[in-house]
Symmetry: C2
């Protein structure tokens, strides 16, 4: 590794986090909430790559609704902010960042709404991924699975590459039986939504598999304008893009997909139950109830109680999440936590 | 039955209902809440004996804290109100009423915080109990049990009497195994806390088994004063009484205890789970979730959700009671509902 330019972190802020309603809301969605510790998931994503010469200043990609939140939470740090004119999923968002970078620079696309407990492991995985990306691989972080989770996508590993593996197959959320088989096989990893690319390689593969999208992103970037740290792609062109995820648009189609195994205490904090698990792991004191705010728990096991004011009193509960926020009271089983986004309250806000 | 004076209903308002916290509070306890239907349990207890020539105007016994609530909820009906100078349990409260009645009059002591679905059955049971009371029996309503409830006292029946049975044994809340044996035997009834006495007979038995209490009650009544519908026993004398329940002070000791079987859809509405059951029975549409106020229930069975404002959203719950009231949020299993009164919130208010 000689004469390497730093890696450009690309922090994606598109997640709405409706399964974390009633705390996560349109006006203040999941990335911008201090769900674990005193900083927000977005701030943690930024700090993970700050103060380390191997990383350049981050490029943040977000909608205009959240630009001020981001500027506030960045507190004067160096960064660029690409304003998505409209939400078009991850492929156009990542491609916009690629379009404003030199073609040979390495980018690391990271969601802003995940939790990573082990930052050192994150960094060493990022460096391994970048090394493969310099060889024009399109590289996923493959999260080492520790349970037959049915809520995540999986990636199958193939032949050995330096620091990783070829990625032979991307699988959507499997059913329980398949998830168990994947876990037992040792061949599958969770798709953590973190990717390393050479910017030019990503745009080339996008052009090969989604030529209209690649063309529109390139034009929208070329005809965009800057305003201090903000970059505004051309909205008229960008808005006409048919949105798609980077997985569907590129990773499942390219012949050069790779993965680097990542064992870094990762959680997507996808719902209240996974937040509970992450908080238990973060705390590490062996207790299995988690309380945020004023709560009295009597004879409760694996209960998560979080309130922004009103006291919660609970008796005899097992595996229940209680969240009181903004005049809404949510009570769900850990299993039911997956479907909170479909509740009328979550849909209306 | 000839030349009979009407029965004097004595409505006891001493119950605090802490297990129905956070709705039931010191300032507005259980009897004065519209828990089932649009009237309060107290109003229902009064209406049960109103407009029926076999019953005299009721005597209400309550603490001064609740006198205005009672006067408001009586809305100008005819009644007398005995103000207990202090809370001394049911024996002194009932004896006060006996002391202001002619010795040969029949009194029917009724809690004001129970629910009775079948008022006609209540009335016919009251008449049978009064008939035995005229023969100087001290008569309990024996509620026909339909489950091995461990939260109630039980009464064992003995030899047959006209319209009832001798009561041979009063048993405190049994454990599960004994409750099941009682239910299977067919010999036991729940102690519903409803009693018929000849006033003089009650005072005589009290004098026999609790002479100091009987003496103090008689003196407190003799030296009391009236103020419109309110009667104030002498506080200095009454306050020195060592409180006790009518069961302990009289019923367990007298040789003339009797019971009349009562099958009248009775519930003591002792906690949120029993209220849920009473509401399900009252509604009768076969549904097992009960909602009061704004609540969205997804994939829930036997859930009780009651709110005074904030919306409740629930997912995947079984046998859970959720109560939101006055800025407090209670979530309990049906089993845990029995211990709600021991929560810090219930104890503090």
């Amino acid at each position: 590794m000689v004469n390497q330019t730093p890696i450009h972190p690309v922090i994606l802020c598109g997640g709405s986090g409706t399964r974390l309603w009633p705390v996560s809301r349109k006006s203040l969605p999941k990335p911008f909430l201090p769900l674990i510790g005193e900083t927000t998931l977005f701030q943690q994503a930024v700090r993970r790559v700050t103060g380390d010469a191997r990383f350049a200043a981050p490029i943040v990609v977000a909608g205009s609704d959240h630009a001020e939140l981001i500027e506030d939470q960045m507190r004067g740090a160096e960064y660029r902010l690409i304003i998505e004119p409209s939400a078009r999923n991850t492929a156009p968002a990542i491609a916009l960042a690629a379009a404003i970078l030199p073609a040979d620079d390495i980018m690391l696309a990271c969601p802003s709404d995940h939790h990573i407990a082990d930052n050192a492991a994150f960094c060493s995985t990022a460096l391994a991924a970048a090394e493969l990306a310099r060889q024009d691989y399109l590289v996923s972080f493959g999260i080492t699975p520790d349970r037959p989770e049915t809520g995540y996508g999986y990636i199958q590993k193939g032949k050995v590459l330096p620091g990783g593996f070829a990625a032979t197959r991307f699988v959507e959320k499997p059913d329980r039986a398949r998830a168990e088989a994947y876990l037992a096989s040792g061949e599958y990893y969770w798709n953590g939504g973190i990717f390393a690319f050479r910017a030019g390689a990503l745009l080339d593969e996008l052009a090969a598999h989604r030529p209209a999208m690649a063309d529109a992103v390139r034009q929208a970037a070329a005809q965009g304008h800057s305003e201090r740290a903000r970059f505004h792609p051309d909205a008229g062109i960008f808005d006409r893009i048919k949105g798609d995820s980077i997985d569907y648009a590129v990773m499942e189609n390219t012949a050069r997909a790779a993965l680097v195994p990542a064992n870094m205490g990762w959680s997507d904090i996808g719902n209240w139950a996974t937040l509970q698990d992450a908080l238990i792991a973060d705390c590490g004191d062996g207790a299995d109830n988690v309380v945020q705010g004023r709560a009295d728990l009597a004879d409760c096991d694996r209960v998560f109680a979080s309130t922004d004011g009103p006291r919660i009193s609970a008796v005899g509960l097992r595996d229940i999440c209680i969240v009181v926020s903004g005049g809404e009271v949510l009570v769900t089983t850990r299993e039911g936590a997956q479907t909170v986004g479909k509740l009328p309250g979550a849909a209306q806000q």
